[in-house]
Symmetry: C2
Subunit: 324 residues, 2 copies
């Protein structure tokens, strides 16, 4: 079977986007290693341009558009919107980002800070609003995950990680639409010694879990609600095809576990990690013993958060502030 | 004139402590560089063992104690207490850390997590409480800053920075007791092309500023109060001697500027930085134009905070969450 993205696509993407993205560092925590009984390597994509891995996919897609493209458009209330705005600014392309009227001012300002135009609408109208921009301007849609160039771009995070940390046994990354995880699976399947790929998904939006269990892509949860707001979306067709073919797994995590994981990053590792980005740590904790003696790669997907969750999280648990 | 610490001491300290501390990464921010008009390199000692540069000095001092030392003691409500506890644990030495009864549970638990014994007392009794431990146990006092071995250890942060980032024009670091800054000054004065050293100090506790202005060491501020709780202490005799001889400067910063700087680290650079550690960024902002076209090194001193300041800080300003 031919999959939508190959390792060669990801290697080409890495070359293409290299001048415009950071090679993010990898951190370890002696405390967490003791807890797990293994070695865990955290790739800090929260320190990536726009504060999330999304810069990789959007940049890879937008750099490949023809010279005469009149602009780009996407609908996203989150990191992909910023990523498209950032990547368009590299090429001095006009960008339109459709966002819900309810999006936080901070997020709207962030998109505007890259020079993009924000189109506010009701959540239900976002696809039609994007279509209207396309009709009116000829802009090209950059999908947040269901796009081969975007997936190849996201895969570069894993490509870097396996170069930075040899001999990983498993990689854990968040799954929402599946762009990051399907890129990871593509890289991992092509390694000499195969690396298992595991998605971390909130119980509250577990369509990826159910899709991979059943072998049939399930629709996204209706009216989804989770603190991991980057993972609200359902799994995309291309990501699902890749993840099913390459036998990725999903571990589901509770809202409390996500908050505790985000706190661990903040207090112990001194990193600002958004709740979505903290799900892999929660997933590793969810299966005690499973990662013993393993070399585990984790992709911290992003760090864009207003810390509204901090009060709730702090009341959950009281942990000493100690060393990474 | 002979100073208490030499470059050779710091080079020896770096060799000695290397197995026990992290070589911390250096980060940059395109956003901040644009604001400053220069290039700023942030050395992230918040990612150091115990979450602060203090691990360096305590480790250097404690590794040099004779084999038959019965233990170590210090009085510190902050990062030095954790650092002494950590460094003592390397040698399996008993450690006593005198802390005020009012210290946050988190900080007390952190010290205990390294196996040290916490001795609670009233703030005014801390020196006598430490003296009582010494009398009773024979433990050796590890002073937080007024000690040549501690200063040499703290200097290793700057030694690493000048190796990681060549051709710096200036280094800015927080000043409380002066251990970190006097170590920095010792390294910088010995470079082929001298690097200016600047301390960042809250207006509320500006004894280091007044000491270096007048050439006479001034007493610490009575009943000091600042959000930068790591900088409450007055400048020590040895650090003052070094900083005066090597012509260090101090820039004073307001409480609001400190909070805004800590927020910048959290929202833009995705780093948890304690208010004390954010003072250098505030100092750079305090003198607009001064750092234009300069290559500026900053030492982020630590990341241990309970974020109690976050609510107050968030109301000060609304900044978009964007890329580093």
């Amino acid at each position: 079977m031919s999959l939508p993205v190959t390792l060669a696509d990801i290697i080409a993407a890495a070359e293409r986007i290299r001048p415009f993205v950071h090679e993010t560092p990898v951190f370890t925590s002696a405390t967490f290693d003791r807890e797990v009984g293994g070695r865990v390597f955290f790739k800090a994509e929260n320190l990536q341009k726009v504060g999330a891995f999304k810069a990789r996919g959007a940049t890879n897609a937008i750099l490949q558009l023809p010279d005469d493209v009149p602009g780009v458009v996407t609908h996203s209330s989150g990191n992909h919107g910023q990523a498209v705005a950032y990547a368009a600014s590299i090429r001095n392309l006009p960008a339109w980002v459709v966002m819900p009227r309810t999006a936080p001012t901070l997020k709207i300002d962030a998109v505007r800070s890259y020079g993009a135009e924000v189109v506010l609408c009701d959540h239900a109208e976002r696809e039609s609003a994007a279509a209207a921009v396309i009709d009116g301007t000829g802009a090209v849609l950059v999908h947040p995950f269901d796009d081969a160039a975007v997936i190849a771009g996201q895969g570069t995070a894993t490509l870097e990680l396996v170069e930075q940390v040899p001999n990983l046994d498993v990689i854990v990354a968040p799954i929402g639409g599946g762009g990051l995880l399907s890129g990871a699976a593509t890289v991992c399947a092509a390694q000499e010694s195969t690396i298992q790929v595991i998605g971390a998904e909130p119980f509250a939006v577990d369509d990826a879990y159910r899709s991979l269990q059943s072998g049939i892509r399930q629709p996204g949860v209706e009216s989804p609600s989770t603190i991991a707001d980057g993972l609200l979306t359902g799994i995309g067709a291309r990501p699902f095809a890749i993840l099913a073919a390459l036998e990725a797994e999903v571990i589901r995590v509770s809202e409390t576990a996500i908050l505790e994981a985000a706190l661990f990053f903040l207090h112990r590792m001194k990193l600002s990690v958004e709740p979505s980005g903290a799900t892999p740590l929660a997933a590793i904790r969810a299966e005690p013993g499973r990662f013993r003696d393993q070399r585990v790669g984790v992709i911290i997907s992003g760090g864009n958060t207003d810390f509204a969750w901090l009060g709730a999280a702090a009341s959950l648990t009281s942990r000493p502030e100690t060393s990474p």
